[in-house]
């Protein structure tokens, strides 16, 4: 496979180890505040009881906004350091030391983590504010904010950890928060089941994580970033590939990548702000973060990187196809999320050539996808929580603010210049072509499909004709909800340009962490951009022809086989059910049978056998003294015989 050319290039382009990490001092040593603030918020909100019901949402918002403000302060402080002097370790306490395996609860603040911190706290703050309005009528709003804060704290720990094991705490913490939030309306059985499914599927990924950590311990004797990355050079490629694949498994779980993608669509059962924050902007990108963070390992593990590329490519196409067929607006967006994360994975798999673009796309995606989800939430809010797009239509006049911001997000995601998505996605497509034409083509087709399904969403929701339920009275959302929309809309417009060109841009910013490298492209960049744009316009046009030119039926038509398959999530669930759940249930049931009849049965059978034998032998106990006397005499005689036989002469 031509992908192997990455190997040599990757090795050649290997930067001189990671940048040196400095002990934090001054402001930076207060990095722990970033985590502590939302954690405190969560603790107060969850343990505070009913008396905080009225002020709970404010405490929650204050905690996150405070963390954001502090992150900005830290960011500014980092800017005052040299470009290659911006990695700081913030020691907290020694976690434990078992048999020479020492784990310290340290934080690592560097260019990569601060980018995530800003994204998480920034977008997080906006979504918190939005939630004030969205959850206004929910009696458990305080609890909701508590969970959100918990999520933010865990996510920050994830990105700030300086040790894989500490990262894992955050990793599971966000999983827990996601579980709690998906199942927030747990009186709905579907929500409870979706929450459990998300957690369990993530646990499959965690298996990979745990085994990766175990492998690291065997190979490096530690899980701290510093030691692992420093030692990666000397490790066998086989081990590095193993670790890389195991980490990829973990990333697949968290980022809903193939083959562990099935939980994400169900996760839309949660409240929409949750979908925006956790299942679009931040948590699901943790897998990408993990891969990029482990750059030192992947750089030296070509097979693992190939696997990352494959997973990313497959998922980006799968997600896009699923997104085309869903009538549920949130599920369509969820499919899109899968697909976009597929792009990021693909980029991350490209190695130093793609790491920075993966993060770049991750951030812009955080902006516009949060924007889109919140917009969808705003639509639902105005339409009595209706999610079926076939029941929307012509809402642009009813909800102008939502429409405008959604439109900006739409343009960003399909990659129309100069919106944010254009810059990030186009770079990935370029890098993919630089690596392998086939992969590049897939990425390009993905862009076209993206344009198709996003145009479809746009048209079905805001254009075409009214198909509302009779009792629907669409109205614009309150200010507290539209204001975050405007903010995110602005970021969707300016985020791409801003990140790319202000102060050297994100690629330079991340370079000390991720390294940098350029491939020769098979075609000139301009041609590639032009091709991509053509594909995008084509996709949008097809959607326009299919949905704007023809009336949209309220009932979904039967559709072609591909549509049917896409509606069923490309049979992901069916596969899981047939291959894992059914046999699992059968296994469980048969094991219960084996336990009762076999293992326990053997024991009880033995007892019964002894009992039966005793019942037989009991007949020897006639109760007649003379029988017993006879036995005694015979026994005494036998003893005498035995003594005679063994007598020492």
């Amino acid at each position: 496979m031509t992908l192997t050319n990455v190997v040599t290039l990757g090795l050649a382009a290997q930067t001189e180890g990671a940048q040196e990490v400095h002990e934090a001092s001054g402001l930076i040593s207060t990095t722990w505040l970033l985590i502590a603030l939302p954690l405190l918020g969560a603790a107060v909100l969850l343990l505070g009881g009913r008396r905080l019901d009225r002020s709970g949402h404010l405490i929650g918002c204050a905690a996150v906004i405070g963390a954001f403000a502090w992150a900005v302060v830290l960011f500014v402080d980092m800017l005052s350091h040299d470009a290659h002097e911006r990695a700081f370790s913030v020691p907290l306490w020694e976690w434990f030391n078992a048999g020479g395996y020492e784990v310290r609860l340290d934080l690592l603040l560097d260019q990569l983590s601060i980018a995530f911190v800003l994204l998480i706290t920034g977008v997080g703050s906006l979504i918190h504010v939005y939630s004030i309005g969205y959850m206004e009528h929910d009696e458990r709003r305080r609890r909701f904010f508590g969970y959100l804060n918990l999520f933010v704290a865990a996510m920050l720990l994830l990105v700030l950890a300086a040790d894989y094991l500490v990262l894992f705490i955050g990793w599971e913490g966000v999983g827990l928060a996601s579980y709690l939030l998906i199942g927030f309306w747990q009186y709905k059985p579907s929500a409870a089941i979706a929450a459990k499914k998300a957690f369990v599927v993530n646990r499959v990924g965690d298996m990979g994580m745990v085994l990766a950590l175990a492998s690291m311990l065997v190979v490096f004797g530690s899980t701290s970033f510093e030691i692992v990355f420093a030692g990666a050079d000397g490790a066998q490629t086989g081990w590095l590939n193993t670790i890389g694949l195991l980490l990829l498994l973990a990333a697949c779980g968290k980022s809903a990548q193939f083959p562990l993608q099935s939980w994400l669509l169900d996760a839309m059962e949660g409240p929409t702000p949750v979908s925006a924050l956790i299942h679009a902007a931040t948590m699901v990108t943790a897998g990408v973060y993990l891969v990029v963070r482990s750059a030192a390992i992947y750089d030296l593990a070509p097979e693992a990187r190939t696997a990352v590329i494959l997973v990313g490519t497959i998922t980006l196409l799968m997600g896009a196809i699923i997104g085309c067929a869903k009538d549920d607006i949130k599920k369509a967006l969820a499919g899109s999320t899968m697909s976009q994360i597929g792009y990021m994975m693909l980029a991350a798999g490209l190695g130093p050539a793609g790491y920075a673009f993966a993060i770049f796309h991750l951030i812009t995606h955080g902006f516009f996808k949060a924007n889109l989800f919140l917009g969808a939430g705003s639509v639902m809010h105005g339409m009595n929580d209706e999610v079926n797009m076939r029941r929307f239509g012509a809402l642009r006049s009813a909800m102008p603010a939502t429409f405008l911001t959604f439109a900006v997000g739409y343009l960003a995601i399909i990659g129309i210049p100069p919106f944010a998505g254009f810059f990030s996605k186009d770079r990935i497509i370029e890098a993919a072509f630089g690596d392998n034409v086939l992969i590049g083509l897939c990425a390009m087709i993905g862009a076209g499909v993206t344009a198709f399904y996003m145009t479809r969403v746009m048209l079905l929701t805001f254009f075409t004709s009214k198909r509302w339920e009779d009792d629907a009275h669409p109205h614009e959302s309150p200010r507290v909800m539209t204001w975050p929309l405007w903010a995110l809309g602005f970021l969707s417009v300016a985020g791409g340009l801003g990140l790319l060109y202000i102060g050297g841009g994100i690629v330079d910013w991340l370079e000390p962490v991720t390294g940098e490298e350029h491939h020769d492209l098979p075609l000139p960049v301009a041609v590639l951009i032009a091709l991509t744009m053509t594909v995008v316009v084509l996709g949008a046009g097809v959607a326009w022809f299919m949905y704007q030119r023809r009336p949209v039926p309220v009932q979904a038509p039967a559709g072609n086989p591909l549509t049917v398959a896409a509606r069923k999530d490309l049979y992901g669930d069916a596969f899981n059910e047939a291959v894992l759940m059914r046999p699992g249930q059968y296994l469980t049931r048969s094991l219960v049978y084996v336990e009762n009849r076999g293992v326990d049965g053997a024991v009880i059978g033995a007892a019964t056998a002894v009992g039966g034998l005793s019942a037989r032998w009991r007949r020897w106990q006639t109760g007649f003294v003379r029988s017993y006397a006879l036995t005694m005499l015979a026994g005494a005689g036998l003893i005498v015989v035995a003594m005679l036989l063994v007598r020492v002469p």
């Binding site: 969850l46 306490w93 020694e94 976690w95 434990f96 030391n97 078992a98 048999g99 020479g100 395996y101 094991l165 894992f168 705490i169 599971e172 913490g173 999983g175 827990l176 579980y179 199942g183 747990q186 009186y187 709905k188 059985p189 929500a191 409870a192 089941i193 929450a195 459990k196 957690f199 369990v200 646990r203 499959v204 965690d206 298996m207 745990v210 085994l211 950590l213 175990a214 492998s215 311990l217 065997v218 190979v219 490096f220 004797g221 530690s222 420093a230 030692g231 050079d233 000397g234 490790a235 066998q236 081990w239 699992g584 469980t588 049931r589 094991l591 219960v592 293992v599 024991v603 007892a607």
Partner: protein
């Protein structure tokens, strides 16, 4: 002569048991108060013992040694190492909590509740003795004697099938115990052959027993411990006992008393017969992995909450045994740590399930649903306890499970990989249980479920707080345990392996270049 701390630590609950039993009939409240007071007093003494444990000091501390039956070389010999002191701590913490949790339980049966509390204190005294005994026969005696109060606790107070469960429990453990007795005598005979006949563990560990003999003796010990622990396929008594005993009794049984089995593996089976332990390790590791998966799968298939938790314990005991017989430092430290954490989390789970049962009078999962709405605190406590059961970081159980897997991975790759399946299954059985009982629409019969009361909060809160606190600040506990594990493993002759890539070496090479 120094103050006999350990003897006192044993004597206090024993005295408490006697005094509780002596409380006049009918004054059950007083009896309970006496029992609780003594349990707390024991906790105080245990804290004193732990405080005196000197990290970096001798391997066995606070030792006492008095001749008991000198003609046979039997001693009243006590002492704690890191492992013992940790488990003593667990026992002392668990007892007052369990005592408080069982407050109303004993009344549900028609018998006098004071007996129940007296028996609990008796089990505590015996369990502590087992953890600090430094004489093999003393250990054996308490190992067996423990069955008596537990038998009565299960058989007198409990569900409709309690007699069956109690008998099964007794027969299983007695069988293992008798086989162990033969092995104990075998060890004694070996020590007699070597010159000075003695039951003192220090003397016995110094023996050089031939490998062939070691194997037989090891099997004798292991059978008893594997039944107690319990390991597949010797486990079937536990689900019955867990289901039929009162919830707090089940909690104490699987949370604390059964730890004597795994403690015996670490403190006796491995150091006494190091060669045999190494020879049999692969077999036991295989059994442990089967236990993990088997217990988890069966837990998924249960319809009875207490039985379900019983099966989860089998799965968790599988992890503990796995870590022990990986015979690595991390594995064994993880296992010992796991014992503590599993104790806490299982007690929490059983106790909370007990609270649910006391409200609804049913053990069946199907009878519940939507409890979260009327009783959010109950549901929250249940969720946290459950999460610690599925080893979610940073709860304490995570670290121990992780260390076990890591320790196993060092020696037995395949076993570790299969064992990690256990963490997926754990998520499934816990969350499915939570989903079926706590979420979903509220049925009419559950609509006015009471939330946690004051007593119940006092029972649950310290457990959950401990689980979290130990998870976040595990250092001291792990250090103490590591202190005991190190010498144990060096008895076996195991050294911690060096990592394949040593960063310090590399740095040195780099400098040379």
């Amino acid at each position: 002569m120094t103050f006999p701390w350990l003897t006192t630590l044993i004597a206090v609950p024993a005295l408490g048991a006697v005094l509780t039993a002596l409380v006049p009939q009918g004054r059950s409240r007083l009896a309970k108060q006496v029992a609780l007071a003594f349990a707390i007093l024991t906790l105080g003494f245990a804290v004193a013992v732990i405080a005196q444990f000197d990290l970096g000091g001798d391997r066995f501390q606070l030792t006492e040694q008095n001749e008991w039956i000198s003609a046979l070389g039997i001693y009243w010999a006590l002492g704690v190492d890191g492992i013992g002191v940790a488990l003593v701590g667990l026992t002392a913490v668990a007892t007052p909590i369990v005592a408080l949790a069982m407050w109303p339980e004993a009344e549900e049966s028609k018998r006098d509740p004071k007996v129940y509390f007296a028996l609990l204190l008796a089990v505590e005294a015996l369990t502590i003795t087992a953890f600090v005994a430094k004489d093999l026969l003393l250990f054996y005696i308490v190992f067996e004697a423990m069955l008596i109060p537990l038998y009565f606790m299960i058989g007198m107070y409990g569900g409709p099938q309690r007699r069956y469960a109690a008998l099964k429990f007794l027969l299983y453990n007695l069988f293992g115990g008798l086989v162990m007795l033969a092995a104990v005598i075998g060890v004694y005979a070996e020590s007699a052959d070597a010159g000075q006949a003695s039951f003192l563990l220090a003397d016995l560990m110094a023996l050089d027993i031939p490998v062939e003999t070691q194997r037989w003796l090891f099997l004798g010990f292991m059978l008893a411990f594997a039944i107690k622990a319990p390991l597949w396929p010797f486990h079937t008594w536990l689900p019955d006992a867990a289901a039929e005993a009162t919830p707090s009794n089940a909690a104490f049984l699987s949370g604390v008393a059964d730890k004597v089995g795994t403690f015996g593996m670490i403190a006796l089976a491995v150091p006494l017969f190091p060669q045999a332990a190494e020879d049999f390790a692969p077999v036991i590791v295989a059994l442990a992995v089967i236990s993990i998966i088997y217990g988890a799968l069966l837990a998924i298939g249960q319809t009875d909450m207490k039985r379900l938790i019983g099966y989860t314990s089998i799965s968790h005991f599988g992890f503990i045994v796995l870590g022990i017989f990986a015979l690595t430092d991390r594995g064994m430290t993880g296992s010992t740590f796991y014992m503590i954490n599993h104790g806490l989390s299982t007690i929490a789970l059983f106790v909370i399930v007990g609270f649910m049962i006391s409200r609804r009078q049913s053990r069946l999962i199907a009878d519940y649903g939507g409890i979260q709405k009327p009783a959010p605190k109950l549901a929250g406590a249940f969720l946290i306890a459950g999460l610690s059961g599925l080893a979610l970081p940073p709860l304490a159980t995570f670290l121990s499970e992780f260390l076990v897997i890591v320790g196993t991975f060092e020696e037995y790759r395949a076993a570790a990989v299969v064992a990690t399946l256990g963490i997926v299954l754990a998520a499934l059985y816990i969350l499915w249980l939570y989903q079926r009982t706590m979420t979903g629409p509220v049925g009419e019969e559950n609509a006015d479920t009471r939330d946690l009361g004051l007593r119940e909060t006092i029972v649950v809160a310290p457990l959950l707080a401990l689980i979290l606190a130990v998870g976040v600040f595990p250092r001291t506990v792990v250090d103490v345990i590591d202190e005991g594990v190190g010498p144990t493993l060096s008895d076996v002759g195991v050294e911690a392996p060096d990592p394949l890539v040593s960063v310090t070496d590399q740095a040195a090479e780099g400098d040379e270049e």
